[in-house]
């Protein structure tokens, strides 16, 4: 196990290197001016431009720029072009809200995906399965921004569900339970909408894996022993669907973070997705590089945790 973790960490570092190069070059190799005031603005003097270029190392060759950005990123000195605040500080501010939103959505995706997938597998090939399959594909095909608006219109009037931010504005709760419930009430709707696609993907995945498991010899043995179908299904076969549950963590995370860019914008939710969108609008490239790097590193971490969980829950997996 220890040697596995060490090897995986080494591989992760190699991946992080690739990731940093990709995110750096996507931002720098694209044409267009990095200046916040536009390339040809006549009101900006050459002197101001020169100072700006020096401050953000834009006068250096690309490989050197890359090295400097990475150095600044790891020492915490990388600053945003927009407000010159350290980028890591800006990201750290948004991280808790992002984690709450994405982990809630992940939990919803995994649990409801499991239920829907089990239901489909239990009735494989029959009308209930066909119907749940079509529902799953409708969920995958739903544009997140569209369903957000429809649900928002429907629920705001009917159930007074909040659609802005992370807490009730203008009310200072002092009680911990109240703060928690208020936060939960706010994150519930964005998280559910974010989870729609994940639920569907996960349900397809669980269904396929369950059907596969039902073909195994030990299932045939269980049936041959005369066990009733429910025991075979829920006691023997279901245990193996813990594996797709874990794989789902690594698989769904990048998609959720992507979806969050749009959902956070609609619900004015102060997470990293919204920060990214703001940085895109302002061409704030240090923030973009750092944000791409941090989210990719988070996904990598999720994958590592998933692989370790495998070894914990499945005795057949030996990590070496």
């Amino acid at each position: 196990m220890t040697s596995f973790i060490i090897r995986r960490l080494l591989v992760s570092f190699v991946l992080l290197f690739f990731i940093s190069i990709i995110s750096f070059f996507i931002v720098t190799l694209t044409p267009g001016s990095p200046y916040p005031w536009g390339e040809l603005n006549p009101k900006v003097s050459e002197e101001v431009k020169r100072v700006f270029r020096e401050k953000f190392h834009l006068d250096r060759p690309l490989p050197e720029q890359y090295a400097l950005i990475m150095r600044d990123l790891f020492t915490g000195n990388l600053r945003s072009i927009k407000d010159e605040r350290p980028v890591l500080e800006k990201i750290a501010e948004r991280l808790p809200a992002t984690l709450v939103l994405n982990i809630s959505a992940l939990a919803l995706s995994l649990s409801f995906g499991l239920l829907l997938g089990i239901y489909g597998a239990r009735h494989a090939g029959r009308p209930p399965d066909v119907i749940t399959s079509i529902i799953a594909f409708i969920f995958i095909a739903l544009p997140g921004f569209w369903i957000s608006y429809l649900v928002a219109i429907a629920l705001v009037d009917w159930a007074a569900v909040p659609i802005l931010g992370t807490h009730t504005i203008g009310v200072a709760f002092t009680n911990g339970a109240q703060i928690f419930l208020d936060g939960w009430w706010h994150v519930m709707m964005p998280a559910s909408i974010l989870a729609i696609g994940g639920i569907a993907v996960q349900s397809r995945f669980v269904r396929a894996s369950m059907i596969e498991t039902l073909r195994e010899d030990y299932i045939r043995t269980a049936r041959a022993k005369g066990l009733d179908e429910n025991t075979v299904f829920y006691r023997h076969a279901l245990r193996n669907s813990i594996r797709p549950l874990i794989t789902g963590i690594g698989m769904l995370l990048p998609a959720l973070i992507s979806g969050a860019v749009i959902i956070e914008n609609i619900f004015a939710y102060p997470g990293m997705g919204r920060l990214g969108y703001e940085a895109v609008l302002e061409r704030d490239y240090p923030t973009l590089v750092a944000l791409n790097f941090v989210t990719a590193a988070l996904v990598l971490l999720g994958n590592l945790v998933a692989d370790m969980l495998y070894a914990v829950v499945d005795p057949r997996v030996r990590l070496e």
């Binding site: 591989v11 190699v14 991946l15 992080l16 690739f18 990731i19 990709i22 995110s23 996507i26 931002v27 694209t30 044409p31 267009g32 494989a124 090939g125 066909v130 399959s133 079509i134 594909f137 409708i138 995958i140 095909a141 739903l142 544009p143 997140g144 921004f145 569209w146 369903i147 608006y149 429809l150 219109i153 059907i211 990048p254 998609a255 973070i257 992507s258 979806g259 860019v261 749009i262 914008n265 997705g273 990214g276 969108y277 895109v280 609008l281 061409r283 973009l288 944000l291 791409n292 989210t295 990719a296 590193a297 996904v299 990598l300 994958n303």
Partner: protein
């Protein structure tokens, strides 16, 4: 040799493709979805031609009429009008080709890259495979939509850039799939035979292995189209899609969201169009997958 063989049992098609097609036709959901895809493609093509010829049918999608703004669906404007009095139905039909073009061409770009990268990785193996697959792993860690958004915003939104960027970041799945196919197929006896005959690597890849991996590649291609359509809609919604006055399904919703409480038709119909388009591709792709997967025969 096959031609001189006695007639096979009449009801079973001789080729694997024929058998897969037969299985596909038996799947009602798949056939319906494929019919919807075809209808959609025809509609998009017809209204693209109308647009280029300047035929205002049912109305000119860009003609404003402030006396008739924000009208709910009525006898003249079947799906209502927007805040500038433009006919929503005309704009929806006119925007159809944008979604489909982005969907098809972006998938073509991503297939092109994915097949070549996957084939090289799977056929040559060793350190080439290792290097390429680590790069693919790294790319897969990125939240795809955010990557697309960043690149499109920096490059400047145009239909060409959108297609190019979506294609450029979405080939990783195809590459992994093609690599896996190649890893198994390169050990098969017909590839060994071709190698023993002294054929070159590239020829073996494209003449012998690739045609045998065509079925799963086709399935990923069909399933890739709705991904690209949804990505384009999301970009349009955020203002980085194909720019106005050209109507796209995403930017009709983006423009309509300001009037959300007064004009539900500006949100509902374009969203339904995106949903139906994406859904028909997903269901077609899934039915194709079931038809080409020989294992599902046993089910």
């Amino acid at each position: 040799m096959i031609t001189t063989a006695p007639e096979p049992i009449a009801t079973v098609p001789a080729t694997p493709g024929g058998r897969a097609w037969r299985r596909f036709r038996a799947n009602k959901v798949g056939v319906t979805a494929m019919a919807m895809v075809i209808v959609l493609a025809v509609v998009a093509l017809v209204f693209f031609v109308f647009d280029r010829l300047g035929i205002p049918f049912p109305m000119d999608p860009d003609a404003t009429n402030l006396e008739r703004k924000l009208l709910p669906p009525n006898a003249i404007n079947w799906l209502g009008t927007d805040n500038l009095g433009r006919d929503v139905l005309s704009r929806l039909l006119n925007g159809a080709y944008i979604s489909l073009t982005v969907g098809f061409v972006a998938v073509f770009v991503s297939l092109f890259i994915g097949v070549i990268v996957g084939a090289v990785s799977g056929y040559f193996g060793k350190w080439i495979d290792n290097l390429i697959m680590r790069a693919v792993d790294a790319l897969m860690c990125f939240p795809t939509f955010f990557l697309i958004l960043t690149a499109v915003a920096l490059l400047g939104p145009s239909i060409f850039n959108i297609i190019f960027v979506i294609g450029l970041v979405s080939w990783t799945g195809t590459a992994r799939l093609v690599r896996a196919e190649f890893l198994t197929l390169r050990e098969s006896s017909y590839v060994q035979a071709a190698r023993a005959l002294g054929q070159r690597g590239w020829k073996i890849i494209f003449r012998h292995i690739l045609p045998n991996a065509a079925a799963p590649i086709l399935v990923t291609a069909v399933l890739g189209v709705p991904e690209a359509i949804l990505a384009e809609a999301g970009l349009s919604f955020l203002g980085f899609g194909v720019q106005p006055p050209q109507a796209t399904w995403g930017n009709i919703i983006a423009d309509g969201k300001t009037y959300i409480l007064d004009a539900w038709w500006l949100i509902l119909f374009p969203g339904l169009a995106i949903l139906l388009a994406a859904l028909s591709f997903y269901l077609t792709g899934d039915a194709l997958r079931q038809a080409v997967e020989t294992r599902s025969e046993r089910q």
